[in-house]
């Protein structure tokens, strides 16, 4: 199968001369972690939400509206041609832990293959074959809804965690990820040390049992626009199933087919 058969068309690029707030607005509006960057019509690189949050940790020097996208973009992710085999893209997404691979024709951006595009296409083929416990990660961080926000925020902003499950005793109350924090950090004169987890928590208390079919996890990811769903067993948080875990399984299934 070729990239052009799976190409996600709904991609909003950001211009290299725009400031990072412009990029962040697009990320928040689309709940996208990565955007392609254009220099005129030419593909120039990608900008990731983690690049933005790195700036936020060093805001004493420069404000985000004074920093251009070009200053923080990455050239790590190389674009592919539409006639590239999709398995190459899946390998890249797994190995580089990126959210998507830009697709160019010549130097012109024509789309992007993202994790959700791969899941949408391949997940039906997993139905009945794998349960959540076959793909989930048992490494998951939890915090109490009553905890202070700052230590949790630092762990996410410094890249140690992507998503933290928030509980009230044993009950899941929601999750917090880097986009949730990015929104909060747009606040004027914010003092994270005076905030608690519940101040920013969305009521997205969705979870899935470890014995459920993996396709149900994907369905919840699309429905709730989340890249990871907490996994429970006997009402206890046992892990998390992420889009990348399922893509790893798709890759393994394809490699061994």
């Amino acid at each position: 199968m070729l990239v052009k058969e799976l190409l996600g068309g709904d991609v909003t690029p950001v211009d290299i001369k725009n400031d990072v707030l412009d990029a962040l607005f697009i990320m928040l509006g689309k709940r996208e972690n990565t955007l392609p960057v254009l220099d005129g019509r030419r593909f120039a690189g990608t900008v990731d939400i983690t690049s933005y949050t790195k700036i936020l940790q060093d805001m004493t020097n420069r404000k985000p509206e004074t920093i251009s996208v070009g200053e923080i973009m990455s050239k790590k992710v190389r674009p592919v041609d539409p006639n590239t085999e999709i398995s190459y893209v899946i390998d890249n997404i797994c190995e580089k832990e990126v959210h998507g691979i830009p697709v160019t024709s010549g130097h012109e951006l024509i789309g992007m293959v993202r994790r959700q595009d791969i899941l949408r296409h391949y997940t039906p083929s997993l139905k009945g074959k794998f349960k959540v416990q076959d793909v989930m990660s048992y490494h998951v961080s939890t915090n109490s809804i009553h905890d202070k926000l700052e230590p949790l925020a630092k762990r996410i902003l410094q890249g140690y965690e992507r998503k933290i499950v928030i509980v009230d005793y044993d009950t899941i109350k929601g999750t917090i990820d880097i986009l949730d924090l990015a929104n909060v950090l747009l606040s004027e004169g914010i003092d994270l040390s005076r905030m608690s987890v519940k101040d920013i928590l969305l009521p997205n208390a969705v979870s899935i049992g470890k014995y459920e079919d993996v396709t149900k996890a994907v369905q919840l990811m699309f429905e709730w626009k989340m890249e990871g769903i907490p996994v429970t067993d006997k009402n206890q948080v046992e892990g998390i199933v992420r889009d990348k875990d399922i893509i790893q399984r798709i890759k393994y299934t394809k490699d061994t087919a």
């Binding site: 707030l21 509206e65 929104n183 747009l186 606040s187």
Partner: protein, 121 residues
């Protein structure tokens, strides 16, 4: 007939409180509790102002704002949010079409005055 306001907030108590306050001032206020329902209403009805919560599950206020700009360009939207956005952020959002950002919790008088100011233009 009063100006029509659509309040979008997943916190039922907040949405209903805003409706109570604005209805008492002569506005014709409707409430929905999700971004998805907001878009459905906007597709079939006209409102002078959408008061939009940002931190909602499934479809957050940023996503709703972006969709509104696509399906109803020029629709007046004000954020209703616990986040006190910086001036730089608000300035940029104004260019994107946002008319105001009202911070929760709000004083009733302040809410009324700002909604009056927006809808009378």
């Amino acid at each position: 007939m009063g100006k029509r306001v659509l309040v979008v907030d997943d916190e039922v108590s907040v949405a209903k409180t805003v409706k109570f306050i604005l209805d008492a001032e002569g506005f014709e206020t409707s409430v929905v509790f999700s971004g998805e329902d907001c878009l459905k209403r906007i597709n079939s009805e006209s409102f002078d102002l959408v008061l939009l919560d940002i931190m909602m599950p499934k479809m957050n206020g940023w996503q709703v704002f972006e969709e509104l700009q696509k399906i109803k360009p020029g629709q007046k939207v004000a954020f209703l949010t616990v986040i006190r956005y910086s001036e730089a952020v608000k300035e940029k959002l104004r260019k994107e079409g946002l008319v105001d950002s009202i911070t929760k919790p709000f004083e009733n008088e302040d809410l009324i005055n700002r909604v009056k100011a927006i809808t009378s233009v």
